[in-house]
Amino acid sequence: MKYFIAFVLVAGLCALAQAQEQSCQVDVQSACGQSANALMAFFSGESGVANCNARYAAIGHLEHKMQDYIHLQLKKSYEYLLMATHFNSYQMNRPGFQKLYQGLSDRAFDDTIALIKQVTRRGGSVDFSKPHQQGVAQPPEVHLNELESLARALDNEKELTNGAIHVHTSATHGTTDNRIHDPEMAHYLQENFLSKQAASVRTLSGYANDLSKLVSVREPALSVYLFDEYLQKQ
């Protein structure tokens, strides 16, 4: 009987603790040992100030998508680095193309850091301890000719754009599990990624079309040389 009463008491306290709104202030009060909250916190197995976090809105289901996007950026950054290296070899010797891809690689790496900062600004975290499907896909083909490399880069840029759009869609419509909106995350992606991506997609598609016209002649070596010189000046 004694045990039963104790059990009911504990169960009741736990239920009360659950019902209580989980907020930073409640956590602080219990952590500081004020009122009945301390007892509740003890029974519900919570301690510290776990609710004093920066999480709100849709960060819960955006976190993983942002993590995917971060890994994608990182992978593309190294892919671009290898493309730049390919054009830096004495056999290719295209400093303009090298500059283009080195620039894209640096940009993707800076974006990786910016995205980590954004996720953690919103109380999320980024995990680098697990092998990631976006990060360890089969090594990319980097031994491409000039036009093929532009095509590849354009496809890459579209993939990166779609990654941003995917997170943006979840932030605005909450299409999957719930319908929580996250205007801050949506705004961040629009401002810092979507417009920039639109510009780089357009630039690369322009390059690809220019160069494909230039190589439609019988002996295109000079055309490609001049196009590379043009890229150096960009």
Binding site: L82, F128, V217
Partner: protein, 271 residues
């Protein structure tokens, strides 16, 4: 679960289209020729029956067949002229160059991967210290910077190999992005891990130097220039970096031993 790869399969036609465009149209040509031949053979069948009659129809048929063949060939020619010339070949030849030795190249490639791994490790640390519940922006910024630096070290080594005439056909598997160890660091433990990592990198550069010095008595496999570059630029940077980290560690350790959490808080804000 959304899959980037699935999406890109759907929306990634440019590369493939260009590949088809750029490749020689050999298969199509074959089909054309095969068709023309078949047509010719079909036209020949009635000719066998009427062989002795030698009617004008026979001549007409022959003419028609050859005309068809000519049209097809002309069409093929046109198609080839439309084809893009995407690959530009070079026949340049160099004697005795590139001249780097195989073991040295292999060690350089390993070193590049190590620099990239170090960069990933620092990125993970930076991400950890950026967490709202950890909140050590000074440490986070420090490790973001370190991650960038390590990546640049890797890139510079890659550039060096290109300068020496390497990396012409072996770029593809140069870099792998792999997962790293993640802990619940404190400021001090992170700096200590960083110091350990830098020590490992320093040791691995020393080994690399040894490999590239070669072991022949006449020193004809000694890669003087690379050895000098690694010693003068990379070891220099490693050693000053280690000294800087060691200084930070002792300062933080002193502050922590007397003031605990306040020590780390102040150290972070002044980093």
């Amino acid at each position: 679960m959304y899959s980037h790869s699935a999406l890109c399969e759907r929306e990634r036609p440019t590369t493939k289209r260009l590949k088809v465009f750029c490749s020689t149209q050999a298969p199509t040509v074959c089909i054309h020729i095969a068709k023309a031949r078949k047509a010719e053979e079909l036209r020949k069948i009635p000719n066998i029956n009427n062989n002795n009659k030698r009617n004008p129809k026979n001549k007409m048929m022959k003419f028609c067949a050859s005309f068809c063949l000519l049209t097809v060939l002309a069409a093929i020619n046109m198609a080839q002229a439309d084809n893009l010339q995407c690959n530009i070949k070079s026949n340049a030849a160099f004697r005795g160059w590139p001249d780097m030795k195989e073991p040295c190249i292999r060690s350089m490639r390993e070193q590049i991967q190590k620099e990239i791994n170090a960069s990933m490790q620092y990125l993970a640390m930076a991400a950890y210290f950026s967490n709202d519940t950890v909140n050590r922006p000074g440490f986070a910024e420090h490790f973001f910077k370190a991650a960038k630096e390590e990546r640049e070290h890797g890139a510079k080594l890659i550039e060096y190999l290109s300068m020496r005439g390497e990396l012409t056909h072996t770029v593809k598997d140069l870099i792998k992005v792999s997962p790293v160890k993640v802990k619940n660091w404190t400021g001090l433990s992170a700096l200590e891990d960083a110091f350990k990592l830098e020590t490992e990198v320093t040791k691995s550069i020393r080994d690399l130097i040894k490999t590239c010095e070669g072991n022949s008595k006449k020193a004809d496999d000694n890669d003087y220039h690379l050895v000098d570059y690694l010693t003068g630029v990379y070891l220099e940077e490693q050693l000053t970096g280690q000294r800087e980290l060691a200084g930070k560690i002792t300062t933080l350790e002193k502050m922590m031993s007397s003031q605990g959490e306040l020590g780390e808080f102040l150290f972070d804000k002044n980093m």
